[in-house]
């Protein structure tokens, strides 16, 4: 039999109907729903008198609009309406919902894995581009628009063209202080924000194999920032161990049977991809974005580039506009960029290991004067764990604000925003203009780099810091 990639295997397992000249009709195993991209879909169902076909394969939470202080007091009336609409819709259509009162609430891409809903081999969709996160488990997971949300609610399927496959193989040892976030930022920096357009990415290589599930989630989360709707990692023992005992994962003998099935999903020896990229992990440094796309970044010991360094006119113009927006000068060392805000959170980097990594840097130190620093855990479960482990206290003692779970300052749909013209070291995934607030200047970094920026009030090379382990 012809060797297959995991992407082809999952695809073949989910084809409901195939006909020449049409996309494949693909079955969806898990549909995650949040408050921002679903109201119009539910309204569409109501207008046509349609039902949700499989509420049991659907799971909802509220995350984008949720305040991270006084979460039950939503002062923004339109935001409150959206949250209420989700509650009503879930009730009307019998969809399980982790609401603001639930200990399972959190960012949809944090709670899916945490609850064991995310499993190898599944097709997973959500009206959110960072659905690619779930690919870390060897699932085919991608973001969809609201019309597709409605289509999945009504039919549990989607018409999809088989994607091309892109292998990104990362090999070798990462340097101290270099994290999964730096790997994905470096990939996007080197190959561009549209290298993955039209592809599903499989991340392979020993560097990825040696990563924890949470690190793999950070990598797959930003596959969309490289243009790919989905990014995934073939499942292995690390995956299975993570899932064992999770609430919605199979139990007992069923779990062992599932593991046997999951093992067969990994890409076969000798399978071919439409395109392959090789990365040497030892060449990656901690990265900082200086511009307005996730590809506009530099190693922390580098400098802000000059527009003339770029090959074509469109790029030169883009860099010029970006530098103007960011208020940065060409040639300026990255470590000379001052920050007034630090945000540790988002579906990219708000899990317990991210908070541990940040806390190691912060422990026993103080946030620099003039810096406002926020830690927003990805879920209620992460929050409780961090409080139990003493991480929350470390952040609070250092002068960080310790918040409730939600998307928060990643996109500032709730009250957490960055004021115009101010710089934010952010562990999120997008540095687009206005993303964190009108005129806000976002620099994407790892949790370690963000924590260090909070202490020093500017970017510092975490490889040069003396770090004491958290006891």
């Amino acid at each position: 039999m012809k060797p297959k990639t995991i992407i082809e295997k999952i695809w073949e397992n989910h084809v409901v109907y195939r006909e020449e000249g049409k996309p494949d009709l693909l079955y969806i195993d898990l549909h995650l729903v949040h408050e921002v991209t679903s109201p119009q879909a539910f309204e569409g169902l109501r207008q046509k008198g349609r039902k949700v076909r499989r509420p049991d394969l659907t799971f909802a939470t509220m995350d984008h609009n949720v305040p991270t202080v006084n979460r039950f007091v939503i002062e923004d009336e339109i935001a409150r309406n959206q949250i209420t609409a989700l509650e009503k819709n879930c009730q009307e259509f019998s969809i399980p919902l982790a609401d603001l009162y639930s200990s399972e609430q959190g960012i949809v891409h944090v709670i899916g894995p945490e609850l064991g809903l995310t499993q190898p081999g599944k097709t997973i969709v959500c009206g959110d581009s960072h659905t690619s996160t779930h690919g870390a488990f060897g699932a085919l997971a991608f973001g969809i628009g609201t019309s597709e949300v409605e289509h999945v609610l009504a039919t549990q399927t989607l018409w999809q063209h088989r994607p091309k496959t892109l292998q990104i193989r990362v090999s070798g040892r990462l340097g101290d202080g270099v994290t999964a976030k730096d790997v994905i930022l470096a990939i996007i920096h080197r190959y561009g924000v549209d290298v993955g357009t039209g592809y599903v990415i499989e991340f392979t290589g020993d560097t990825i194999r040696n990563m924890s599930m949470e690190e793999r989630m950070t990598i797959c989360n930003m596959a969309i920032e490289a243009g790919a709707r989905a990014g995934l990692v073939s499942p292995d023992e690390t995956t299975f161990e993570y899932l064992r005992g999770r609430k919605y994962a199979p139990k007992g003998e069923e779990f062992e049977k599932a593991v046997e099935r999951w093992r067969k999903l990994a890409t076969d020896e000798g399978a071919t991809y439409d395109k392959t990229i090789e990365i040497d992990a030892s060449t990656i440094s901690p990265m900082v974005t200086w511009g307005t796309t996730p590809g506009m970044s530099a190693p922390v010991d580098g400098t802000v580039p000059h527009p003339d360094d770029f090959a074509n006119e469109t790029e030169r113009k883009a860099v010029q506009l970006a530098l103007q927006y960011m208020g940065l000068k060409p040639g300026m060392p990255i470590t000379d960029i001052n920050v007034q805000h630090v945000f540790i959170g988002s579906c990219t980097n708000s899990r317990i290991s991210d908070l541990r990594a940040a806390a190691e840097i912060v422990k026993g130190k103080k946030v620099a004067p003039g810096v406002r620093a926020l830690v927003v855990p990805g879920s209620q479960q992460v929050k409780q764990k961090a409080e139990k482990e003493g991480l929350a206290q470390i952040f609070i003692d250092a002068g960080f604000e310790w918040r409730d779970s939600g998307c928060s300052m990643c996109l500032g749909m709730n009250p957490d925003t960055v004021p115009e013209g101010e710089h934010c070291a952010s562990t999120s995934n997008r540095n687009f203009e206005g993303r964190q607030g009108k005129g806000a200047r976002t620099h994407l970094v790892s949790p370690k780099m963000a924590a260090a920026a909070a202490i020093y009030g500017r970017f510092v090379d975490v490889r040069k810091l003396q770090i004491e382990p958290v006891r």
């Binding site: 996309p23 119009q40 349609r50 628009g145 357009t197 469109t314």
Partner: protein
Amino acid sequence: MQPFTIHTGKVAGLDRANIDTDQIIPKQFLKRIERTGFGKFLFYDWRYLADGKPNPDFELNRPENEGATILVANENFGCGSSREHAPWALQDYGFKAVIAPSFADIFYNNCLKNGLLPIRLTKQDVDYLLQQSKRVDYELTISLEEQRVYDENGFDRTFEIDPYRKQLLLKGWDEIDLTFVYEPYIVEYEKKHHFIS
């Protein structure tokens, strides 16, 4: 969905690459629970100054672009967030089609679901159209049936589109209704894979 067959309209150019959906429709406007009325918020942060007045430097505010129904932009248009509010806003503003050398995957799909036609042309052709768009009253005609984009001066190009999507657009069909035709296959699949417990 509104059918798309043939359209002639004025062209507006936005010569930037990687225009993300956060620019097309900023997040503060995603809280509405309707599908309509997003046009006034299109490109909000670029289109308006701090005092709420139109920004005269922004391309769509230039007099020659008033009433444009075809938008031409550079590579990777619509990258970032999956928000379908982006095509809703473009359409509500009056655009019927967007032409670019490349589109982000999710945005491209979202356009097709709403009858907003995304057209990929070569970078060279897009550069030509961006130049032409600076003229007052520069118009293009788009025929979906013929998969053709042309003007009165001899510019005439064909474009690719998935035949299945093309049919849906031409007819303005509701995709969910069509999928229900295949329900027996869905039931069959569920028997094998997803019993309702």
